[in-house]
């Protein structure tokens, strides 16, 4: 168990900024996820913590002790790799024992510790197998066992589940989280899968362009995204224009007056989550409290559990809604009119231009 503190970390590749002034604190025992699209710097950050890249400037401290100048093999931060990196010439047992041997742990202790940890990852029966005899999921369990057996201060995971098939990914996700909680080990987890990030983490740190966009609990990230990027990347969002009138502000689509919600004079845009939009067949009675947006249906995708509605508002803006399948809607032919409604409380507003910060 250890806390991690990163201060002003920068990493340049020539003129390209890979990491720009990364400052973050990870409390002891937390499951901290770096989330972002490819090229956002999340893997670079993880590998810099592991010591595989040298930072251009900045500090990394584990439990207050600086580690940024230590060579990678002395950092005591164990890593689980995306491609497993299970040594193909060593048995499962020897793979797990590898780090203990480097730490000169005596033989009998190695034996018991390897047995314990193989039990934790449910691989005891495969201890003598060679890696090529294991499935991908089993190999990744070896990768995990090998990392946690050395009792590292920090556990680093680089998209450990992305090479597995969907079903296994969900199973192993829960198991990883359970093991991490049981051991109470501070974990930094990299993923581009937002569902994974939201499901597993204590804190999600969204990165883009080498910059931290927002670091917060999963629910906060989803309900109160700090800026337009987070609002788009985590979950989906519709962005609708807000027109300024003399003394007021109205949604261009639906013409609802939103002046009360916007204090600043700067240009803003309104965001609505697709699941907050309801679609009604023509002629349905509408709750008067809701904002009404008349639109023309462009396409409906029926996905089973839900349906996706793509429509164009009368003001010409594209809009997407997600709802439980409604036979009356699914049956609508393309280009038929559809009424969309939204609860005024579900609107959020972001500044236009710049980082697109969220307005209070």
């Amino acid at each position: 168990m250890a806390s991690v503190e990163i201060t002003g970390l920068r990493k340049l590749y020539g003129d390209v900024v890979a990491l720009s002034d990364i400052t973050l604190t990870i409390p002891s025992g937390a499951f901290y996820t770096l989330l972002g699209p490819s090229g956002c710097g999340k893997t670079t950050l993880l590998r810099t913590i592991a010591g595989f890249h040298a930072q251009t400037s900045g500090q990394i401290a584990v439990d207050g002790a600086p580690i940024e100048t230590l060579p990678a093999h002395k950092r005591d931060v164990a890593m689980v790799f995306q491609d497993y990196a299970v040594f193909p010439h060593l048995s499962v047992h020897d793979n797990v024992a590898f780090g203990l041997k480097q730490r000169k742990v005596d033989k009998s202790a190695i034996k018991t510790r390897v047995a314990e940890v193989l039990d934790v990852v449910q691989l005891s029966h495969l201890a003598d197998r060679m890696p090529h005899e294991l499935s991908g999921g089993q190999q990744q369990r070896v990768g995990l066992a090998r990392a946690i057996v050395v009792r590292p201060k920090v556990l680093l995971m680089d998209e450990p589940l992305s090479n597995l098939d969907a079903k296994l990914r969900v199973d192993l996700r829960a198991e990883l989280r359970r093991i991490q909680r049981d051991l109470g080990i501070t974990t930094i987890y990299v993923t581009h899968d937002q569902e994974e990030a939201l499901a597993m983490s204590d804190i999600v740190c969204v990165m883009h362009g080498g910059i931290i966009q927002q670091a917060a609990a999963p629910l906060d990230i989803y309900l109160r995204p700090a800026n337009r990027f987070v609002a788009t990347f985590v979950g989906a969002n519709n962005f609708l224009d807000v027109d300024r009138t003399s003394g007021g502000a109205v949604l261009r689509s639906g013409a609802a007056n939103v002046a009360a919600r916007i204090s600043a004079e700067r240009p803003v845009t309104c965001a609505i989550r697709p699941e907050d939009i309801h679609a009604h067949p023509p002629g349905t009675a509408i709750d008067p409290g809701r904002i009404v947006i008349e639109a023309t249906m462009r396409e409906i995708s029926f996905l089973g559990r839900e349906m996706e509605i793509f429509a164009v508002t009368e003001a010409g803006e594209e809009i997407k809604a997600v709802a439980r399948p409604d036979p009356a809607i699914v049956a609508l032919p393309p280009k038929s009119p559809v009424t969309l409604t939204v609860d005024p409380d579900a609107l959020s507003f972001f500044a236009q231009g710049g980082n697109g910060d969220r307005l209070p």
């Binding site: 060579p71 093999h73 995306q82 010439h89 780090g99 050395v150």
Partner: protein, 553 residues
């Protein structure tokens, strides 16, 4: 970080890179630079001059050698293409009986000592050759093997495996959809072959052809044995070196520079042509072999097997003559082991030297190719790029040139090591290092970097991670590289011929001298010993290499 801190943190691989650069500078760059500089020096005064090159391009003696080299180089390469491409096409696109046998024979031809072909053809078609005598009985005059056409014949039969193996690999890796699409768009089979298949294998063919051309230009043994007054640049360089012995070998060096320039220009031209032709494609639809029937099938089989058998003929003749009963240099009829007795009596040190030098070189090569491959593949520094580039150089520098570079660099002063075993080992090391590096490099490219990162992450220092994780994983590549460099080291002739002295004679040199003396029994026995070693290594490569054919290219 302060400079002091940085020095303290100079890691293992930075040190290794420094060591590699130092070794390559001392054993490769420095000797070659010395050679290059000598070409611009007046033999008597030591002053700067371009007179040597003027002389080379004005005096007929040199000019003819220049033309002759190009002549046999181009025609030998062309000949190799003419038999190599059809052979590759047949074996890749049709069911040919004994396919493994054909490729094995082609590989044996490839690795057999280079000069064996030349003198075996003398035994068959020379002035007293058995074919000459046989046809003479019927009053038929066979064409003489001496001169340009003999050299071209030997080059053709010696170098076609490069074309064959490279083209075959390329044909086997070609997505069948291309040919299907051509047919679907209305091509006849012949149009499909000339308009689609041939252009698509052009990169492979041209790469094979460049290898043939460079080897043919650099080849010393064949023109030395078969030339008889037909001189090429390599034989001229060697005799110039011999006559300039003691003085500055300026003409030998000038000739060598021209040889290297030819090879370099050919390589650059090929790269330029290839740069516009990149045909990478996924092998989603692997080619399917067709069955040929009737007389076409017979002709195809006769062609395929005939080619490799004729190419193997010199080797078989050499082995055969080694078992002929001899009295001194004279064959006295019947069979016996006298030739083998004689090599044990007169030249045991040639055998032991060959093994000691080659094994010594192979140990160095294996250690360095492991380290160099890691630096090339895993480290993205300027030095790594430079080392990668330098690994091309030994292929392009003829043995004569490298050896003259060694002589001029290491002769005289307190460090006069010319003629010593150590220098020969270093010569083999630097000349054959690329074989080891290439094999190790291609092995390492298949190992994900996360392997070493995982080891380091778990607490192994970089050197230890390399030793306990990387080395076991690239071991097959290291073994194949060691075998390949052993095969090529133990067959080295031209460089050794310049650097050896009485105590450091090797088998190829002994064979060369025996052939010059007409001692064909002795030469045959020694060649057979070489062939057996080489064959054993080839067998071992088959065992260890993932793709047995491409390991030899």
């Amino acid at each position: 970080m302060s400079l002091f801190q940085r020095l303290r943190h100079t890691d293992f691989w930075t040190g290794v890179t420094g060591l590699i650069v130092a070794v390559l500078a001392l054993l490769l760059l420095f000797p070659i630079l010395r050679v290059l500089m000598l070409g611009f020096v007046d033999a008597d005064t030591g002053a700067f001059t371009i007179g040597n090159f003027v002389e080379l391009f004005t005096r007929n003696y040199y000019l003819n050698g220049f033309k002759n080299s190009l002549f046999v180089g181009v025609l030998g390469t062309l000949g190799a293409c003419l038999i190599g491409i059809p052979l590759a096409f047949f074996t890749a696109r049709f069911h040919v009986q004994g396919q493994a046998w054909i490729s094995t024979l082609a590989i044996l031809v490839l690795v057999a000592p280079p000069f064996i072909g030349a003198y075996a053809w003398i035994m068959m078609l020379g002035s007293n050759g058995f074919m000459t005598n046989f046809f003479g009985l019927f009053g038929i005059e066979t064409p003489t093997i001496y001169g340009a056409h003999g050299i071209i014949l030997v080059f053709t039969l010696k170098f076609f495996p490069f074309i064959y193996l490279m083209t075959q690999t390329s044909l086997n890796g070609m997505n069948k959809s291309f040919e299907d699409a051509a047919e679907n768009l209305g091509c006849t089979p012949w149009q499909r072959f000339t308009k689609i298949t041939l252009p698509l294998v052009f990169p492979a063919v041209s790469t094979g052809a460049i290898i043939c051309f460079v080897l043919a230009i650099a080849d010393f043994g064949t023109p030395a044995i078969l030339g008889r007054g037909f001189r090429t640049l390599s034989t001229i360089a060697f005799s110039a070196y011999r006559s300039e012995l003691g003085g500055r070998p300026t003409m030998a060096v000038t000739v060598s520079i021209v040889m290297m320039a030819i090879s370099m220009l050919a390589l650059l031209a090929q790269r330029r042509i290839l740069s516009k032709r990149r045909y990478a494609s996924a092998l989603t639809n692997p080619p399917v072999k067709q069955r040929m029937t009737g007389w076409r099938n017979t002709v195809m089989h006769v062609f395929c097997h005939g080619i490799v058998l004729i190419a193997m003929l010199p080797t078989l003749v050499v082995v055969y003559t080694s078992f002929l009963k001899t009295n001194g240099p004279v064959f006295i009829g019947g069979y016996g082991l006298e030739s083998y007795e004689r090599i044990l009596r007169t030249a045991p040190e040639a055998i032991s030297n060959s093994f000691v030098f080659s094994l010594g070189a192979v140990v160095l090569i294996t250690v360095f190719s492991g380290l160099i491959s890691y630096v090339i593949v895993r480290r993205e520094t300027a030095a790594a790029g430079a080392i990668d580039f330098l690994m091309m150089v030994p292929y392009l520098v003829p043995g004569v040139v490298m050896a003259i570079g060694f002589v001029t660099t290491f002769r005289g002063g307190p460090l006069d090591v010319v003629g010593t075993a150590g220098l020969l080992i270093l010569l083999y090391f630097i000349r054959r290092l690329p074989y080891g590096v290439r094999s190790a490099t291609s092995s390492l490219r298949q190992i994900k970097p996360s392997m070493e990162e995982a080891a380091v992450n778990l607490g192994a220092a970089p050197a230890k991670a390399f030793l306990v994780v990387t080395v076991p994983l690239i071991l097959p590549g290291l073994i194949v590289g060691a075998l390949m460099s052993f095969i090529t080291a133990i067959n080295e002739l031209s460089g050794t011929l310049i650097l050896y002295d009485g105590g450091t004679i090797t088998m190829p040199v002994q064979i060369y001298l025996a052939v010059l003396d007409g001692e064909f029994g002795l030469a045959g026995a020694l060649s057979t010993v070489l062939l057996v070693c080489t064959g054993a290594c080839v067998y071992a490569v088959f065992r260890f290499a993932e793709n047995r054919d491409s390991a030899f290219l």
